[in-house]
Amino acid sequence: MATVLIYSDKASMALELLTAAREVGAAAVKAVTINDNAAAQDLVGAGAEVFAIDNDAINLADTAAVASALAQAIEQLGTDVVFLSSNRRGKEVAGRLAQIIQAGCLTDVTALQSNGDQIECQRNALGGATVATQTITEAKKVIAIRPRTFEAAAAGSAGSLNDLSVEAKPSAVKLVEVRSKAGDSVDIEAAEILVVVGQGMESQDDLPLAQELAKKLGGEVACSKPVATDKKWLSEERIVGLSGKKCKPQLALLFGISGQVQFTVGIRDARVIASINTDENASMNQMSDYIMTADLKQVLADLNKAL
C-alpha cells in the first residue's frame, strides 16, 4: 500500500496514527509536525521518519494555515494518503485539507482495513444507528481516525528527523486567549465499570449516590450528553456517545437513560449492560442484558446499602 502521511496536533494521537499506518501495511510512513519539537522527538523515538515544520507564522488556531502547510508537505513528500486524528482540531483540518488537495475524506473512522489498494473504513452513520463500511475511490485520501482506535506506537529504534519548510500567508485568525477547561481529567474510556447517569435523575442532590456506587465498585461516573451540556452537573469529559466517548467497560450500569442512538453508540461495546428505568418500554432496555423497572434513586440507595 501507498506511503501514508500522518499528522495530529497531539503527540499521543500522532503515535496512534503511526500504529494505524503500520497496521494497514503502509509502504512507508512520513510524520509531519508543526511547531512542536517535543512531538517530533516522540515520533522519532517511535521509529518514524519525521518532517518537522518550524514556522512561527503558522498559528494552529488558523485552520486555513494548518491545512495549507499540510498540503504543501503532501506536495513536497509526494504522498497521496493522509491520516489525521479525529479530535476536534483534526476534524476541522480534514475537510479543508481534502478540499485543497482534491481528496475524498472520511472522518471519525473507528476501524481500518486494507483490501488491496483500498482502505476500508468503518464509521458510524445515521446518527450512530448504523455502522457504515466505506472506501475513498479518489487516489488522494484524507482519513481522520478516532482517538484510541489504535495503541500509541511504543518507543523503539530511532527514526529520522528532517526539516521541512513551507510558506505561510498572513493569517485572518488571531488567537486572543486560551482557557483550559475545569480540571476534570477523568478517563471514562479506561474504566472497567461505569455508573452512567441520564436525565431520569431528577435532582443534582442524587448525584452523590451515583458517585458512592462508582467508588464502591471501583468504577467511574459517566453521563448522557444533556446531563453535562444542559444541566452541567458533570463535566463534558464524562459524556458517553456519538459526541462523547466510546466506552468498552466490563459493566455499564445505566440509570435513567432512554437509549437514543447517539448515546448507545458509546456504550454498545460494553460486555454487560444493566438498565434501570421507570419506563419498562425504554428503548435502552432492548439493548441491555439486565432490565430493572424501578426508580433510580431507590435502586442507587439500595445498591449502596448492599455493597
Binding site: A61, D62, T63, A64, N87, R88, R89, K91, E92, A94, G95, R96, A98, Q99, I100, G104, C105, L106, D108, N124, L126, G127, A129, T130, V131, A132, T133, Q134, T137, S171, A172, V173, K174, V176, E177, V178, R179, S180, K181, L217, T229, L242, L251, Q260, V261, R268, V272, I273, N285, Q286, M287, S288, D289, Y290, I291, M292, V299, D302, L303, A306
Partner: protein, 251 residues
C-alpha cells in the same frame, strides 16, 4: 449584516426503524439537522441584537422547499435553495461545491454558519470545504459568537480548552449544539413561514455539474449486531446476583 446558515434536510433519525439490521427510511419524515437549528438560532440571535438579514441555505431534493419552512418559522428571513434530485444523499465534497456556488450568488455575505456536523452523516467536512472553496477563514466548534464590525470574536471549544479567536469577516463558523437552545416556533410563525421569500435554483442555474462516480463508496451500512440477554430483574438483590454470576462485580 447578511448571515447565511447552511441547514441540511435529513430523515428524522428518531423514526428510523431497523429491519434485518438494515435501516428502513421509507415514510420517515424529513426535517432539518438538530445542530443546524442551533446554527440558525445563533444567526437569529445575532440579528436580533445587531440587525441584519438571515438567509437559510440548503441543497437537497425537491422536498427541500417544504422542509425549509421549519427554518423560516424559526426566524430565517428568506431561503436560498438548490433543489435537484441528484443532490439527495450527495457526497460531502459535491454538497460543498454546490453550497459555495450558491453563496457566491448571495450579495455581501458577512457570516456563513454551519452545524458542527450533519445529523445523518456527522462528518464535519462540509463547512471546512466550503471555507476553502471561498477562500474564507473559518472557526469550528463555536460556543459563542460576537460580531464587532469587520471581525468576530468566537469561542472555539476543544476537548481540553476553549480558544477565543478573532476572525476577520466574511468567515465560516460551525457551531456546537451547546451554543444555545434553538427556539420552537409559534403557530403564527409557522403560518407566516410559507409567505417568506424563497429563491429556488437547480444545479444547471449554478453551472455545477456533478461528476460521475462518488469519491466515497459505501460498501455496507448495517446496524451493529447486538445480542443482549434482556433479562428482567425485580430486585436489587437479583440484579447483584446476576452481575456477580457474570463475574463483573464481586459480592
Amino acid at each position: 449584516m447578511n448571515i447565511v446558515v447552511a441547514l441540511k434536510q435529513v430523515p428524522d433519525l428518531q423514526q428510523i426503524r431497523l429491519r434485518n439490521r438494515q435501516p428502513v427510511l421509507d415514510d420517515v419524515p424529513l426535517t432539518l439537522g438538530n445542530i443546524d437549528k442551533n446554527a440558525l438560532e445563533a444567526a437569529v440571535a445575532l440579528k436580533e441584537a445587531q440587525g441584519g438579514n438571515v438567509i437559510a441555505l440548503s441543497a437537497g431534493d425537491e422536498n427541500i422547499e417544504d422542509t425549509i419552512k421549519e427554518a423560516l418559522a424559526a426566524g430565517a428571513d428568506e431561503a436560498f435553495l438548490v433543489a435537484d434530485d441528484q443532490l439527495q444523499g450527495a457526497e460531502s465534497s459535491w454538497i460543498a461545491t454546490v453550497l459555495a456556488e450558491a453563496v457566491k450568488k448571495i450579495d455581501q455575505v458577512d457570516l456563513l454558519l454551519f452545524g458542527e456536523g450533519s445529523a445523518d452523516n456527522y462528518s464535519g467536512q462540509v463547512g471546512s470545504r466550503v471555507a476553502e472553496i471561498l477562500g474564507w477563514p473559518q472557526v469550528a466548534y463555536a460556543i459563542n459568537i460576537e460580531v464587532n464590525g469587520s471581525t468576530a470574536a468566537v469561542t472555539r471549544s476543544l476537548e481540553d480548552c476553549d480558544e477565543i479567536v478573532e476572525v476577520s469577516l466574511p468567515a465560516v463558523i460551525t457551531v456546537l449544539s451547546d451554543i444555545n437552545e434553538a427556539r420552537i416556533p409559534s403557530v403564527t410563525q409557522i403560518l407566516k413561514a410559507g409567505k417568506k421569500p424563497k429563491e429556488v435554483l437547480e444545479l444547471d442555474d449554478l453551472d455545477v455539474e456533478l461528476p460521475d462516480g462518488s469519491p466515497v463508496e459505501t460498501i455496507s451500512n448495517l446496524a451493529p449486531d447486538s445480542q443482549r440477554k434482556k433479562v428482567v430483574v425485580k430486585t436489587v438483590d437479583e440484579l447483584l446476583q446476576a452481575l456477580a454470576a457474570e463475574g463483573v462485580i464481586r459480592r
